[in-house]
């Protein structure tokens, strides 16, 4: 790999700072839970159905507990209570719980309490066992069919109708796509529930539902067998239902998830506490399920300028990594995000983009990395746009990106046409084939522009990390240090779904997941 550019000690320093910045946030995470975290617990127990008017049973139950002021003891505890009331099915359990008056929710005698917890723990172990069995199935197919060498070519489908998505995903796979992302319906991140069942109406994308995940993964399993190579599937674990989506994805054998510790706070104005708590449980599930997360630092430089704000990307990547490691994720699961976004009207942008991508590779040598294409300065001149994307293909293979989202020549116009994906895949396959090995053939001079720029950006990233450690994570976000967006601790959506844990809070899944690493 070209150039160290930066001393190892400096990189260690950044990593230490990121740990110190994120440490205090774990105090918040330890002391609180959220409605969505508790709904995830219920889904882990198999409560995945919907009640009247399509409301997910997990929501009916969690909302009832929240209203009764009882959620702080954990949904798992109350799940155990309704089982003891003799519930015959999840729907029955929800009905029993929602019909019990609040005063009947008082504690049981101590021996019964202990027995209840033992019973629920046993059930949780069985549920995790089943989840692991499904994940092992996915891993076996992946091992049998194999993956091509990286960069893995990632394309998006976004029809709004899961069945049309399947057609487009199969076509993309046939044209050489390695990863299919089903983009979500606009504003799904702000829904405080996961919609139920197969969906055929969405705006700007398709609703992420457990059933939609199942339909798409099944189609891709079939297509993978036909093609003789494993095609991966990803979706979005972001917004108000991070952990629930992570569970649905793990259960339905997805391979990756977009999952960022701060994205919801900055770009969806979701409450900061809510996001930090939810991201932790969601990442614990990803860790267990061997799901590769994709972080969202590319977004910073669609709001802020990519040249000026390059260091915020690096600083955030260290912070995202620190959060991820604390949640048990391994290096191979860290699709650390960044992108090719510097204004192409500037001189030497290929050098600048190479510098940035090499710097990310240098800082995270064992992570797959997720490289995003240009979007902000995309033009509706599709011929220029295509040339612009091809430069990103070159940088991706040169800097050994694990995952490359391919740019679409019609980026600034409409959701990709079938042919747009084909053209992008054909070009990327050519560039990856043509330039493979270029990274080991060329040495980048330590006294040149690329190295100098990398040192400059890294130096500013270190300064920003020092500042975040001095001010604290919350204050740093409050000052707009990331993506030029300012958020307060008590602002944004979803704070009313944050609940302080009671002294006897019970979450057997968290116990199991935390014991894994």
């Amino acid at each position: 790999m070209p150039g160290p550019f930066i001393d190892d000690a400096q990189i260690d320093r950044a990593r230490t700072l990121a740990r110190e910045i994120t440490d205090p946030v774990f105090e918040l995470i330890r002391r609180n839970t959220t409605v969505s975290t508790e709904r995830t617990v219920l889904r882990l127990f198999g409560i995945s159905g919907a009640g009247p008017r399509g409301v997910p049973l997990a929501n009916l139950m969690a909302d009832r507990l929240l209203a009764a002021g009882a959620l702080g003891r954990g949904a798992a505890y109350w799940y155990g209570r309704v089982l003891r009331l003799g519930a015959k099915s999840p729907l029955d359990a929800v009905e029993r719980l929602t019909s019990v008056p609040a005063e009947k929710l008082a504690l049981l005698p101590p021996n019964e309490e202990a027995q209840l917890r033992d019973d629920v723990r046993a059930e949780a172990r069985a549920a995790v066992g089943e989840l692991k069995r499904r994940i092992a199935e996915r891993d076996a197919l992946k091992a049998e069919l194999g993956l091509p060498p990286p960069p893995h070519k990632y394309v998006i489908v976004a029809t709004g109708n899961i069945y049309d998505d399947v057609d487009q995903a199969r076509a993309a796979a046939q044209a050489g796509a390695d990863i299919i992302a089903v983009i979500r319906s606009t504003a799904q991140s702000l829904l405080d529930y996961v919609p139920h069942g197969a969906t055929t109406e969405g705006y700007g994308g398709t609703y992420a539902t457990q059933e939609n995940f199942r339909i798409m993964r099944e189609a891709l399993d079939d297509e993978s067998r036909k093609l003789g190579r494993y095609v991966q599937l990803t979706n979005y674990s972001s917004g108000l239902c991070m952990a629930e989506i992570a569970f649905c994805a793990a259960y339905e054998r997805l391979d990756m998830l977009l999952n960022d510790a701060m994205y919801g706070i900055l770009f969806r104005d979701i409450n900061l506490r809510r996001t930090f708590i939810d991201q932790y449980f969601s990442r614990r599930i990803c860790a267990l399920a061997g799901i590769i997360i994709n972080t969202g630092e590319d977004n910073y430089i669609t709001t802020a300028d990519a040249f000026d704000a390059a260091h915020t990307v690096i600083a955030s990547q260290f912070i995202n990594e620190a959060f991820a490691k604390r949640a048990g994720l391994k290096d191979a699961q860290l699709g650390i995000g960044h992108s090719y976004e510097i204004d192409p009207a500037r001189p030497e942008t290929l050098l600048l983009e190479l510098s940035q991508a090499m710097l990310v590779r240098r800082c995270f040598p064992n992570a797959p990395l997720k490289y995003m294409p240009p979007t902000k300065h995309k033009e509706t001149d599709i011929f220029f746009s295509h040339a612009y994307d091809v430069m990103a293909d070159l940088v991706a293979v040169w800097t050994r990106q694990g995952i490359q989202l391919l740019g679409m020549m019609t980026e600034a116009m409409h959701t990709p046409l079938l042919a747009d994906r084909y053209v992008a895949l054909k070009a990327a396959s050519y560039v990856h084939r043509a330039a493979r090995g270029i990274d080991s053939e060329f040495t980048v001079r330590e006294d040149g522009k690329i190295a100098e720029r990398a040192r400059f950006v890294f130096g500013n990233a270190l300064k920003l990390l020092e500042e975040c450690r001095a001010d604290g994570m919350v204050a740093a976000i409050g000052k707009g240090r990331f993506g030029d967006v300012k958020r307060s601790e008590t602002g944004g959506k979803g704070l009313d779904g944050v609940v302080e844990k009671a002294a006897d809070y019970f979450n057997p899944f968290l116990e199991i997941l935390e014991a894994q690493s």
Binding site: G160, R170, A171, A172, Q174, A175, T186, A187, S189, L190, Y203, G204, R268, D269, T302, T303, A304, D305, K376, T380, A412, M413, T415, L417, L418, A419, Y422, V423, K426, D484
Partner: protein
């Protein structure tokens, strides 16, 4: 023979009036000689001649992608095309601030938001944020503008409420997502809300987005529409001049720079 004054034009490939056009499209059939003939027939049916299917590629098992060159016999009379274009010189950053200071004497209040379910703030950010776009400062940078960027997914009624509360001079509605014409429905609903609140006609209502043009904005009930490539200074100039017109300080018929027509 064209009448005097007519200006007949056709597409220019490599010589005048050759009518050369390039097309690309996908047909939902596997690649085959039959598929290529289908592509050629399709293009001929559109009225093209000299059809050359330059590329036919297997985009997927049952989809074929074509690149086609063909000639068109169609023409347009350029002299009959009527699209008014702005000719007056646009005021720069300092001059525009000075104009507000002298003629309005207070800060011009502007609210902007991506409304409804739209979460794509790229456009509204480019116009309002300090940084601006393509070297053109955003409205937040102007000392004589008080610009509020309310961000994404702002409900229409909330935007109207904020416009009333802040005594806004202009409201910018950004709509990026256009699937199933959701932008039009949402824009119309905003106008309804503005009418209900008695705001309509009392301030400038601007619609912006990559698929928005001035004509569409007028149809939907806005005062002006700004499409792709709009710079913050275009919007700033428009807002100031329309405010001056409302204040009776500029003739209502005057056309100003940056103003869509």
């Amino acid at each position: 023979m064209a009448k005097p004054g007519k200006q007949i034009i056709r597409p220019y490939g490599d010589r005048r009036d050759d009518g050369m056009v390039q097309l690309s499209f996908t047909l939902p059939v596997p690649l085959s000689e039959k598929a290529k003939e289908a592509a050629a027939q399709f293009v001929r049916k559109m009225g093209f001649s000299d059809v050359k299917v330059a590329a036919s590629e297997r985009a997927a098992d049952s989809y074929t992608f074509f690149v086609v060159y063909a000639r068109s016999g169609m023409y347009v009379d350029y002299s009959e095309i009527d699209v008014p274009e702005v000719v007056v010189k646009k005021l720069g950053f300092d001059d525009l601030n000075k104009l507000i200071e002298d003629q309005v004497g207070r800060k011009v209040v502007v609210l902007g938001a991506c409304t409804g379910t739209d979460s794509h703030t790229v456009g509204i950010d480019a116009i309002l944020n300090m940084k601006g776009f393509a070297g053109d400062y955003g409205l937040e940078r102007y000392p004589w503008f008080e610009a509020h960027n309310l961000g994404s997914q702002v409900p229409n009624d909330e935007l109207v409420r904020r416009a009333v509360a802040t005594h806004a001079d202009a409201v910018l509605v950004s709509q990026v997502v256009t699937q199933r014409d959701v932008h039009k429905d949402n824009a119309r609903q905003f106008i309804e809300e503005a009418k209900k609140a008695g705001l309509y006609g009392k301030l400038s209502l601007l619609l912006g987005g990559p698929r928005v043009d001035h004509k569409l904005a007028l149809e939907l009930g806005f005062d002006a529409g700004f499409g792709a490539g709009t710079k913050p200074s275009d919007v700033a100039n428009y807002i100031v001049h329309s405010l001056l017109k409302r204040l009776g300080k500029e003739p209502s018929g005057q056309h100003n720079p940056g103003e869509p027509q």
